[in-house]
């Protein structure tokens, strides 16, 4: 690689982008004007709005049913509130009419006053204040009335106490005083720390995405890509030059963001200086965050560059960027959530780690070790994504991608080709939604019955209907083929080792992301026999899913993906299988099981084998949950629900021999690894 060439490319891209209005606006102008607008404008608008509300008259209706001395006193007290006007009592409506008036916003509040006698003979006034919390004006009326009447109550009580000659101070047995020990700096950090990560991440990605889409997809669109590819520059140099451009502009964007934010805050606090006391904004924290943003920027830039390389034009690049942007928004919002603290697990999840770490930095409450883990793990991801980016830029298939014909010829005459990646993906999403809403509501009504209905009606039936309609050869697609009986024996041998391995994987995940107690209890209750007979559970949780889910995943989905190559098809199916269980904590163990089941289907060319394996897995899990206490001699493997780690070794050895056995009994017919039969 020639550094001089990279600089030439970098300089040209910078010059080109700095002349682009879109880049200037999204990367430079927006951050500069956003914060002053947001903070100064917003706060002054709010206070102005409040003053405006204050000045407007508030009209309330007082429905005095009690008509006694105290109720008259209430009226007197309320009428002292400035701008509050109590409507004339001459017209007497019923309560519903008043409520209608309140709904029409003709009045801001309705107060009814009734009286009752306490058991000791004192008169208690029951006062109900009707108001509309969605209306600013009505809420303000309520607040004013409440404050006014609280004062009145105190006066009334002390009068009563005076009558029986008791000092009203007797009521002050406990006095609570509020003293916030957090210094103003920390309070600012607390507030800013919540939304700063979110704002920074979103603004950085949206700025970088505009640039990235222009840099490669834009070159394709304008027809300039060929001209640089035939030039004497190497492809690596082109990618790196462009990559550095995105990074530079993104860093400037972040810098401007932080600077503008800092100045806006200072302005606001200087205005409030008299009331809050003078203090310094934590400038060191802002600087640390700027430093921290660099690895995050390099990570995003590489992803965005890969998307841009893959896309045929800017529009396509932008549509591919959308999921990334949405994902980033969701993950960065974690700083808003209470109870989410940075731990080892979260420190390894991109975006979430930055969001939480930035919040802690603003609170002056971060651990150096996590800072290094977050930066380190992101740098590793950086290297991977840059490598992918360069790889993509070397791939002819990606660089000169032509339009693909994407039509679901489902209802047309040509029914051969419906089972493809796009179709499976759309189908899977619809199925997941149905599973969540329809299946979920069935299971709430009656768990066992609901599970049966979900498996049969939502998972099995649609697949059969689709295969029927598409006139596909069902037997061939679902691999309902005869297979060597030895395969079944091998699967039975592998079942326990596999379950233990998946269990250990789950255990490790549990170490990194501790599961909540309620979660574990729910899972246990599904598998245990407290309410239902063991045979019922084995049928509903063991056998039925084994059949229905295998038909869908290793039958329908895997066959649809066979064009995408052997491992691609199996892994993609396994990932969908993991997602299908709608449980992030079980995603990895279930996906691992999915890979095993996919491998079995491919190797034995028969769906019956993964069906048996699946049934064995589920049923064994049920049996272990229910009977592990009864077999004390198994304690050396599973104790208190924890699997011993040494089990990995024998389990892997057994699985190795099972795989060897599978290869012996199911010799490959052709050399290529296609999923054809």
């Amino acid at each position: 690689m020639n550094i001089k060439k990279i600089i030439v490319i970098y300089k040209k891209e910078m010059l080109d982008l700095l002349r682009d209005k879109r880049t200037i606006i999204t990367s430079f102008v927006l951050p500069i004007i956003l914060y002053p607008l947001l903070m100064i404008g917003f706060s002054s608008m709010m206070s102005r709005q409040e003053i405006k509300l204050e000045q407007q008259g508030i009209v309330i209706y007082l429905n005095d049913i009690a008509q006694n001395e105290i109720s008259r006193e209430i009226r007197g007290s309320l009428s002292e509130i400035e701008t509050l006007q109590i409507m004339d009592e001459a017209i007497v409506y019923d309560e519903d009419t008043y409520l209608d008036l309140l709904k029409d916003k003709s009045i801001e509040a309705l107060i009814t006053v009734e009286d009752s006698l306490s058991s000791t003979g004192y008169t208690i006034l029951n006062l109900t204040c009707f108001y509309d919390e969605t209306s600013e004006k009505s809420s303000m009326a309520y607040r004013k009335i409440r404050d006014n009447l609280r004062d009145l109550e105190e006066v009334l009580i002390s009068k009563r106490l005076e009558k029986i000659k008791i000092n009203s101070e007797i009521l002050n047995a406990v006095e609570i005083k509020k003293e916030n020990i957090a210094p103003p700096e920390q309070m600012v950090g607390f507030i800013v720390g919540k939304f700063l990560p979110y704002l920074l991440i979103i603004l950085t990605i949206s700025g970088a995405s505009v640039i990235a889409s222009d840099l490669i997809a834009g070159e394709k669109e304008r027809g300039t890509l060929e001209t640089i590819l035939v030039s004497a520059a190497k492809r690596n140099e082109l990618v790196i030059g462009k990559y550095l451009t995105i990074i530079t502009i993104s860093i400037i964007t972040v810098l401007l963001n932080l600077l503008s934010m800092y100045i806006s805050f200072r302005h606001i606090f200087m205005q409030m200086g008299q009331t809050m006391g003078n203090f310094q904004l934590p400038i060191g924290n802002f600087a640390l965050i700027l430093l921290l943003m660099i690895p995050l920027i390099t990570f995003f830039s590489a992803i965005l560059l890969s998307i841009s390389t893959y896309s045929r034009n800017i529009k396509e690049a932008q549509s591919y960027q959308m999921p990334l942007l949405f994902g980033a928004i969701m993950l960065s919002m974690v700083s808003f959530l209470p109870g989410f603290e940075l731990n080892l697990g979260f420190a390894l999840i991109p975006i979430v780690n930055f969001s939480l770490l930035m919040r802690d930095i603003m609170l002056n409450n971060y651990q150096l070790s996590y800072l290094f883990i977050v930066i380190g793990s992101t740098l590793v991801l950086d290297v991977v994504t840059v490598y992918i980016s360069i790889k993509l830029f070397h791939s002819e298939k990606v660089l000169f991608r032509t339009a693909e014909e994407k039509s679901l010829k489902f209802w047309g005459k040509d029914k051969k080709d419906i089972l493809n990646l796009q179709f499976v993906f759309v189908y899977f999403i619809i199925m997941i939604i149905a599973l969540y809403y329809i299946g979920g509501s069935w299971q709430i009504q009656d768990l066992m019955r609901g599970l049966v209905k979900t498996e049969v009606l939502l998972i099995l039936l649609p697949v059969i209907v689709i295969l029927r309609f598409s006139k596909t050869d069902i037997k061939k697609t679902l691999r309902l083929n005869y297979t060597n009986p030895m395969n079944f024996l091998l699967v039975i041998i592998a079942a326990l080792p596999f379950l233990l391995l998946a269990g250990i994987l789950g255990q490790i995940i549990n170490l990194i992301f501790p599961l909540s107690e309620t979660y574990l209890e729910n899972l246990q209750s599904l598998l245990s026999t407290d309410q239902t007979s063991i045979w019922m559970i084995i049928f509903v949780v063991g056998i039925l899913p084994g059949i229905c889910e295998e038909v869908m995943f290793r039958g329908f989905i895997l066959s649809s993906l066979k064009k995408n190559g052997f491992w691609h098809g199996i892994i993609f199916t396994a990932v969908l299988f993991g997602v299908f269980h709608l449980d992030p904590f079980r995603f990895l163990p279930v996906s691992l099981l999915g890979i095993w089941l996919g491998y079995l289907a491919w190797k034995t060319k028969s769906l019956y084998v993964p069906i048996l394996a699946h049934i064995m897995q589920n049923s064994l899990a049920i049996l272990i949950t229910n009977y592990s206490d009864k077999f004390k001699f198994l304690d050396f493997i599973v104790k208190d629900g924890n699997i011993a780690y040494w089990v990995i070794i024998p389990a892997v050895i057994i699985i190795y021999f099972v795989v060897k056995g599978l290869h012996t009994f199911n010799p490959a017919e052709t050399k290529d690894n296609s999923l054809e039969y």
Binding site: K5, V8, I9, K12, L15, D16, R19, D20, R222, G223, T224, E226, T227, I228, L229, V230, S231, A232, A233, K234, E396, F400, E404, E405, D417, K563
Partner: protein
């Protein structure tokens, strides 16, 4: 000089079938010679041109350009060729001078000669009036001149033109054609692709007819006339296509 040996390019289609976009192509192009690659749309012209300019990797076979092997030494191949196609674009936000300078640097033209070279180019192509204007504000003809200047700023011995006149008006196309003649006069080796028979007839020293990725016939204009007994290039081309289709049937 270009020597193409059994060059092939296979694309894998969506349905998994293989498609030979270029099938076993062999021909040569000498110094000071204009060789025209003639074929209908989809014949494999652009794929061939892209392989020769190292944008695409050949599936099999190879070619040498100025003695440098396409596969082994793509860097030197690129340094020795200029590439211009009908749909190559320019950077709208850069000026003509900035664009040409950028490519001069990519091609390692010595920094102290870039200024002079651009001036010479501007004399040759009559570009002085718009050298410092942004590309966005230039007419199609002016843009075409910038594209030409960009492609020859490093004075390459080989020029590859992939349908350079496609979509251009007669006057702009004429600029290109006269530029191609200039290249020949300067002793450059020129490879030119087109689907317009008249164009080929007018400028070619040698015609290579390709159809469905394969060579139908090659030779000078006179050779082709002699071999077929026909005088019109359209008729000659159709004659060869029919021959191939008869063989296939």
């Amino acid at each position: 000089m270009i020597t193409v040996n059994n060059l092939s390019k296979v694309f894998r289609q969506q349905n998994g079938e293989e498609l030979y976009a270029v099938n076993n192509l062999s021909f040569t192009a000498d110094k000071g010679e204009i060789v025209v690659l003639l074929g209908v749309n989809g014949a494999g012209k652009t794929t061939t041109m892209r392989m020769l300019s190292t944008i695409l990797q050949p599936s099999s076979g190879t070619a040498t350009l100025e003695g440098y092997d396409l596969k082994k030494d793509p860097q030197n191949v690129r340094a020795n060729l200029g590439f211009l196609s009908g749909d190559t674009g320019l950077y709208a936000r850069l000026t003509a001078r900035e664009t040409i300078t950028y490519f001069a640097r990519l091609y390692d033209v010595p920094e102290n000669t870039i200024h002079d070279r651009i001036n010479k180019m501007a004399d040759l192509l009559d570009m002085h009036d718009f050298l410092d204007k942004k590309i966005d504000f230039l007419s199609t003809g002016m843009k075409q001149k910038v594209s030409i200047a960009r492609s020859i700023i490093h004075d390459p011995p080989i020029m590859i033109f992939d349908e350079p006149t496609a979509g251009l008006d007669i006057l702009t196309a004429k600029n290109i054609i006269s530029f191609i003649h200039k290249c020949k006069e300067d002793g450059k080796c020129v490879l030119f692709s087109t689907h317009i028979m008249r164009e080929a007839e007018r400028i070619a020293d040698k015609i290579v007819m390709i159809h469905q990725g394969k060579i139908l016939a090659q030779g000078s204009w006179d050779d082709l006339k002699k071999n077929t007994g026909l005088i019109d290039l359209d008729d000659i081309f159709i004659h060869y296509v029919n021959n191939v289709e008869k063989e296939d049937a």
